[in-house]
Symmetry: C2
Subunit: 334 residues, 2 copies
């Protein structure tokens, strides 16, 4: 299947699940982008789940999204339980509009769902020469420092900025050391997981993937990462009026109600305080890239460079679809 055909198939599936053409297109583009940048956990692998939640009335395919204007800079969106892509698309566009008008835009979203990659939205702002800071919470994945039960989501911190070149600086970093998928893979392949990644069910550090799966994953950098994940939960959950404190539902296995994810978008002009931001940031990158390197490192990459390169390469090829996903897609069309 060519990528354009694949996109049309996704649109067809979502249309069949009652999304409007516009909303289906927004979702399809985000899903294709996730595949192209190699973020498969945010791509086709979630399509069945989205449709399942729509069928069970846990995602609203025909949302009445309301945007409350609090000032020329600040807006509050009630996503009305829309699929996350649609709410986030609206939110970043509004944040961009506000930032262009006043220098800074801040948009909070409540009653939303999983929206894929934060970096995807940051890119939209960066393309307009704006800087973006984006936060979203997520279902429990990592234990707060000192706890032996998961509560924080992967709670990414996302920061995007124009780079003075066509390759944007997009930091989009989870607060979890490694994702659960990698621990499952280690379990299947009988390999050990790194130290400091997980605790067993009694709360002891473990490098045994099976014990880790019964236990909890840890935040990056101990109490520091735990604090950062906590910050993200406050910014995207407490502040916005969404679920928080571990109450965002897991989209794959919790069908007791809508996810109620929250997002926060802060966007501002890059030339607020200096006229030559782009040449300054370019200078910054060049200087860092010239540093002496650790053995084996060819280039010091800035965040987003790898994803951009993968996107370029993958865009020229057909997206690989696993048999499992092929079957799922076929069923979703039936």
């Amino acid at each position: 299947m060519k990528n354009k055909e694949l996109k049309n198939t996704i649109i067809k599936i979502l249309r069949k699940h009652n999304l409007s053409l516009l909303h289906s297109k927004i979702c399809a583009e985000a899903i294709i982008n996730a595949e192209l940048v190699g973020a498969y956990g945010h791509g086709l692998s979630r399509l069945k789940m989205y449709c399942e939640r729509i069928k069970r009335k846990l995602i609203n395919p025909k949302p009445k999204i309301s945007i409350k204007k609090l000032s020329e800079s600040i807006s509050h969106i009630d996503a009305n339980n829309s699929i996350g892509f649609v709410a986030a698309d609206l939110a970043i566009k509004r944040a961009i509009k506000n930032a262009k008008k006043t220098g800074i835009g801040m948009v909070a979203v409540k009653n939303s769902n999983h929206y894929g990659l934060s970096g995807y939205y940051a890119e939209q702002a960066v393309k307009k020469n704006l800087i973006a800071m984006i936060y979203t919470n997520a279902p429990p994945a990592i234990a707060p420092h000192g706890a032996r039960k998961s509560l924080f989501g992967t709670n990414p911190i996302c920061f995007g900025t124009p780079s003075g070149s066509k390759v944007p600086f997009i930091l989009d970093t989870s607060m979890s050391v490694i994702n659960r998928g990698k621990i499952r893979f280690a379990s299947k392949t009988n390999t050990k997981i790194p130290k400091g990644v997980a605790l067993d069910k009694s709360g002891k550090p473990t490098i045994n993937p099976n014990k880790a799966l019964e236990g909890v994953q840890l935040p990056i950098a101990g109490y520091r990462g735990s604090g950062l994940a906590w910050m993200v939960d406050i910014l995207s959950g407490v502040l916005t009026g969404s679920s928080h404190a571990g109450e965002v539902k897991d989209p794959f296995d919790d069908f007791s109600g809508p996810q109620n994810v929250g997002h926060l978008f802060i966007v501002f002009k890059n030339n607020l305080f200096v006229k030559n931001f782009n040449s300054r940031v370019r200078y910054n990158f060049i200087k860092i890239k010239k540093l002496p390197k650790v053995k084996g490192v060819k280039e010091i990459m800035y965040p987003g460079q790898n994803k951009y390169a993968r996107n370029r390469v993958n865009s020229k090829k057909r997206i690989k679809i696993s048999n499992q996903i092929r079957i799922e897609m076929k069923e979703l069309l039936d």
Copy 2:
């Protein structure tokens, strides 16, 4: 010496070095606060350095600080090479004022110097029921991921929010795993340093503190922490019009010019999107504190709780002054 006397002595020293009474008081309060919360690296141990830089005309004791109003929300401060405490005090007060007026305030500072603890300024906003995000860069301390030379500073990420109780949530976290002081201590006491903290001069990981001192310190969490430190350099250095890319000067041993540190303050109302922010955040903390704990952990603490407790205990006692610092202070008064 009683703490009040100590404060007066600091004021006397700074007055003697040509700071105004007001500016001397601002500095003395920040320095005393650092001692009380146990952040000794930001307290009395820096007093001699500040005075030395004033004497060498590398800090301006009589700065003409200019505040440019870009909008009701956004301001740009040129610190005119003031001591950092003074510029940051002005900046957080302006950010608070802007936030109270419009919901969100953003203040960038250029041509500044070391300002102590970011959390100290966040607290000021939190006391007014505002949320604060604060960034500052710093002289080279950690190597970008893949490099074997330091370039990023400790570049803290600071986030403060009202907590629904008198103990504010103040996350103020360095992007460095451990500070250089701890490596020096390990060297003196012939102990090893943890894995993943430092590289030797050839770029190989080391647990030998002496080799680490010849080499570089690493950011938290590998490429993730490197990306976060990079973000802080862009936000506080590139964006504000200050030095960046490793060009902020070390205040202790680089007398070739002013430090030119940059800071960024973003402050907003906690009730922008929900009316009951404080009870929501309280609920969040209570839920997290009730989680089952890792063995040996009595309480899951939120960021800022420890510092608050230390401040309370230490405020009732005399601040301990080492002989070294006592001698320095005496000399500074001579």
